[in-house]
Symmetry: C2
Subunit: 356 residues, 2 copies
């Protein structure tokens, strides 16, 4: 059981985790890079939590726009940030980690823990810390003006440490606050179980004209048409095949819908439409939303690269990476999570698996 937590990131997810942990009686500090994001929380002196049994006001033990004071003395550090902010925060952490701390990248997107480790190694960080990632967020939530409203809680979330030998100890440490954590084989499993890579970039790309025209439409319900759903399922086979090449039995998108949302349909598009919480989500208003600039470079790129390293072709993913990048005038092949960025370039499949 741990008592002192730091939460890095004051977005929807970070605010809920911070408030929830505080309401569970923990000591909690909160960090965000942008002081204006923290201002409403500072003004209010904490966060009002809604939608959980632990609802109520959470007065935090510190609100910081610097990493170092936020994590000083913390036993567990939750990183709850868009994946494109991971590299920055990992760099900041490198200088102030303390022996015995545990860092939970929540979620890691694809390759989060590997990227943290690579950045710490490169910075010569020698602190003895545990590092892990989850495959998704605990909550569906929206936070505004220091009021965080939870609309859904995952009743199962997988976690893997790097190295995997630490996984069970971390799960045990967090069991009092997050009993829904289950162990994944290794960080490749949590990383490849990133469903956003399948349901985010492709539909945005194939609805680009609509988005840029200012049309308002529902991302899943209107954006994932039958042919786009079928294509997403084809792309998903590439993700599952990459997992298989590393000895992992990755849940397909179809099976994930059946497993998590208890829906059944022949067409992938129907499955996407049948989950009420998803169906009402609106499409982004701009092309370079997180559905592209997070899920392509920190999702599809590392999956494609892991595929190449294992001899598994990923032609549909590769096409999406190239086109989505060209559409928003960025080269995700260069700036994304390459094997170099993850510190695993040049390793054989066996060497990589041993490292995990």
């Amino acid at each position: 059981m741990k008592e002192r937590f730091a939460v890095l990131g004051a977005g929807n997810g970070g605010q809920v985790i911070a408030a929830y942990l505080k309401r569970r009686g923990k000591q909690v500090t909160l960090y965000d890079r942008f002081a204006q994001v923290l201002q409403p929380i500072r003004d209010r002196g904490g966060i009002q939590l809604e939608g959980l049994p632990e609802a109520g006001f959470a007065q935090l033990d510190g609100v910081y726009d610097q990493v170092a004071p936020a994590v000083k003395g913390a036993q567990v550090i939750f990183v709850v940030l868009p994946a494109f902010a991971h590299a920055y925060v990992a760099g900041e952490l490198a200088g102030c980690l303390e022996d015995g701390q545990t860092v939970v990248v929540c979620p890691g997107a694809t390759g989060g823990a590997l990227e943290f480790r690579a950045i710490w190694n490169q910075a010569g960080c020698s602190a003895q810390v545990r590092l892990c990632e989850t495959n998704s967020l605990f909550y569906a939530a929206r936070a505004k003006d220091a009021v965080a409203v939870v609309s859904g809680v995952k009743d199962e979330l997988s976690l893997a440490a790097l190295p995997a030998g630490d996984t069970q100890a971390i799960i045990d440490d967090l069991a009092d606050v997050y009993p829904q954590l289950i162990p994944a084989a290794n960080v490749l499993e949590t990383s490849l179980n990133n469903m956003n890579t399948i349901v985010h970039p492709l539909p945005v790309l194939l609805n680009a004209g609509r988005i840029e025209s200012g049309e308002q439409f529902r991302h899943y319900f209107d954006g994932i048409t039958p042919a786009i759903g079928d294509l997403a399922e084809e792309m998903d086979k590439e993700r599952v095949a990459v997992g298989k090449a590393y000895g992992l039995d990755i849940l397909s998108l179809r099976d994930a819908y059946v497993h998590y949302y208890h829906v059944q349909a022949e067409k992938m598009s129907d499955l996407c439409h049948m989950t009420p919480a998803h169906a009402t989500i609106m499409a982004p208003a701009v092309l370079d939303s997180r559905l592209i600039v997070e899920d392509v470079p920190m999702g599809l790129v590392p999956i494609s690269q892991l595929g190449k390293a294992a001899g598994v072709p990923t032609p549909i993913m590769d096409a999406v990476i190239t086109l989505a990048g060209a559409l928003v005038k960025r080269n995700f092949w260069q700036e994304g999570r390459t094997l170099e960025a993850l510190g695993i370039a040049g390793l054989s499949r066996e060497e990589l698996l041993k490292k995990l």
Copy 2:
């Protein structure tokens, strides 16, 4: 000057060419594979031509649903068909060509003449015929119930023979009816000057959700948004670069708009919107329209393949080929005009240029 013409294909373009040539006093036969397409023309005994100085009724000298009787005795054979019908018609022609005939593939899409020659060679056809292709159609026109209405005529159209040594003789032979023909260096020039490859598949792909949702919108005006226009221009650079690798100065899409439509703008999307005839064209109602199933396999695939053969990367084209194919559940990389299908696989750049 030639007097006996056959027109293969009774679509919009074919009906206008047949009627026009007849109105110019030539002997003209018309072929289409589908008898029901010919029925209105047979019922009427010919085609009513509108929108040209030669307007009036054109009583044809034969209307056939077989190639052989249509081309028997013809001096010039115009092939005015979607590119995906070229292989079939080339095969039919192989058995009934006569020495001295000229075949004009109008337009050739990308690689039309090469494909005809490859199919004839494979079929062992030994007739001494001239073969050429144009880079576009003569007319913008619509034909219905044996009434063909012309809304625009190109005042310049390039033509190349295979081999190029025949180009000028063919242009001279056709000068009385089509004085706007100008010589291209070779069939790579006419083939690479296929603008449809740039303005058709990409906007369809990036508006796929809209199309499949049944939304009615204008292909150029609504479908080519600023970012899609910029991306089309990026893809166009690949086409121009492939031409350059073969010593050709290919007109860019931007320069083509300036040259043909006398418009000027900074954004590619604005150029696409500024040509009234284009701006009002509606997007296709289905994903597997000619804008995909013709322009990808008979346009982008051969350009990409020619690029690979010359060491010119075409990443955006390649992504469009893969994604558009997967979207309509076809593998255009296999069924498209590969270098094998064009009879030029394994040739060095120099060997290829010599063959042209």
